[in-house]
Symmetry: C2
Subunit: 360 residues, 2 copies
Amino acid sequence: MGTSRVTIADVARRAGVSPTAVSFAFHNPDQLGAETAQRIMAAVRELGYAPSPFARALVSRQVGVLGVLVPQGIGAIFENPFFAAFLQGVGTACAEQDRSMLVVGSPVDGTLEDVIARAPVDGFIIVGLNEGYREIEPLRRRGVPFVIVDGDSETVSSVNVDDEGGASRAAAHLLAAGHRDVLVLTFETPYGHLDDPLHGVGGRRLRGYQQAFRDARVAWRDQWLIPSVASVEGGRQGFLTALRSGLRPTAVLAVSDAIAAGALAAAARAEFRVPEELEIIGFDDTILAELSCPPLTTVRQPIVDKGRIAAELLLDALADRGSAERIVLPTELILRGTTRAPEIRTRSRHNKHRRTDDGV
Amino acid sequence: MGTSRVTIADVARRAGVSPTAVSFAFHNPDQLGAETAQRIMAAVRELGYAPSPFARALVSRQVGVLGVLVPQGIGAIFENPFFAAFLQGVGTACAEQDRSMLVVGSPVDGTLEDVIARAPVDGFIIVGLNEGYREIEPLRRRGVPFVIVDGDSETVSSVNVDDEGGASRAAAHLLAAGHRDVLVLTFETPYGHLDDPLHGVGGRRLRGYQQAFRDARVAWRDQWLIPSVASVEGGRQGFLTALRSGLRPTAVLAVSDAIAAGALAAAARAEFRVPEELEIIGFDDTILAELSCPPLTTVRQPIVDKGRIAAELLLDALADRGSAERIVLPTELILRGTTRAPEIRTRSRHNKHRRTDDGV
DNA sequence: GGCCTTTACTAAAAGCCTTTAGACCATAAT
DNA sequence: ATTATGGTCTAAAGGCTTTTAGTAAAGGCC
């Protein structure tokens, strides 16, 4: 408060050495006589000196911080179990290198660009934005390395999962069980130029569903597609909207577990028996899927790994080792309680389906 | 990579002005002629200039980052739904001021102290550590403001909840229903000097339970107290340990929802009917409580608010307004599916209990 | 025309650290 | 005895920006 910061010069004076020596005492003790080094560290303790992270970063060009950029309100980020798992992966990789993690979301007033520009990080993990996106141009110019997650990139590393494959397997599972009246709940993307439903993970998953319909020669009907807010509440609304427009689905494909859980809740309220009268398949395999009642059949993606791998790729880029890699992680259909047991009918068939997704 | 950063001097040269003018163009455009300001901004765009956050922070003593310090492995942090909610609160307050949020956990190799020392933040929110804790001394000396959450402080602001009250109400609820064989699952705190079970939130909650036993004149038995790892798995193990040592509880008090959920799962496996044969009360009211089957009766604490308020207090401290405040938020017993409906017997009594916790 | 005020801009310092190149001294090698 | 070696330590530059104090020119006023 009142007293001004204690600087390296203060310590140097106290210990009767040059500032250089103090710096060496921290980073290069071997350069110093043992006795001197001790005297310096004693002065450090007495004065309670800690180097300014900013001055240090200014010269060493390293802060020890990895940024995670998610173009959503921070509230939305932490309500979404996907991000909890993802950040766990990123954080784990950070902790292994004694780094910490900066979470950057869309600000309430200012622009995302400003917040990015001011972020004190060594590099960024950018989630859900393609490389070409305007807001990230400044990063490139500032020379801040970044990697892309759930988005496309030609020039930097990216981590994605096989959304289309997973979605297609989910849809195929339902179609093989004979369903024709399948309600599809997709993301209603609220982000301007990302609005095109063929963009982003929502678009990919949708394409996967459609592919399965084509493969099974079942007609795709756009009226059975309901865009929903990406939350439990959104899923509930989506399902109700469907009912109100007169649809009577026997199965639901949801592009996220949250949406699926909402649909499940709404269905239970409307006295559908799940899975006997209504089968539901979600996406992601977040904690929601495991905990819902009954537990959700869903397409699992390795979320924690995704975060960890993204962080590792970024660390590679920071160390200037490794070149741009495009990782695509597998997805897997996890059968739980919102689909009927398929073993009786089509065990071999489904096993085949499930096997298409190994390898990285 | 190859090209070195473009600095303010480059822009100045390009626009034919001094670096000062460029700085003014950003922060004080009124000081400049309109035409000059435009020329400068044009040069900024052409060169793709972005000020270095570090140089800027060095002089302005502001980075726009709030740190959240949790003395646990980052993996553990993000597996815990409590922190998701808490960070949501902190993040919301950050976003409102165009700041971002740095999450600092215990590193794998290095020391917490080092990571703290290097963290580029304006201030810290410290969770679960008392003011006197060694690791935070450097912060005080470095002059980094901080607030304490779930811990005690004489000199800085703190945010806590009425853990004892909530725990006591939970225990009283069970005792009033006639339970005598109550299994108590507490935290097994793995952090050195925090190991004393009377420290930390675990200790407070334990004291609350014990108080209720005293009030109800029911003997407290230490063999019925099982320390458990703070996770679903930990709760499962804790319950099984109890069974193996021959305990046959009719009710469970768990100091967190995760532990309660684990106990619930283990109980279901062991063919206990919940709540008919076994009543369970958790703590926190995280998403786990709502989603478990049956949904968990629990002691709710306002987690998101807790985070938001902590951030706001820190922002106050940063702005040098307001003095150290001690906030204690209320807790509330939320009756759900793991306890039997109490209305029949003791409605008025329980309402009275629930009312003791309003006000901030 | 001399003095004062504005306006538009700049020089220089401050902010704090790391790193490079080199000084100085004592000891070992030739 | 002289040079090389190695161990300790320092001076000074560099990293990039903001801010304070101040200059120079233009205009207004008496």
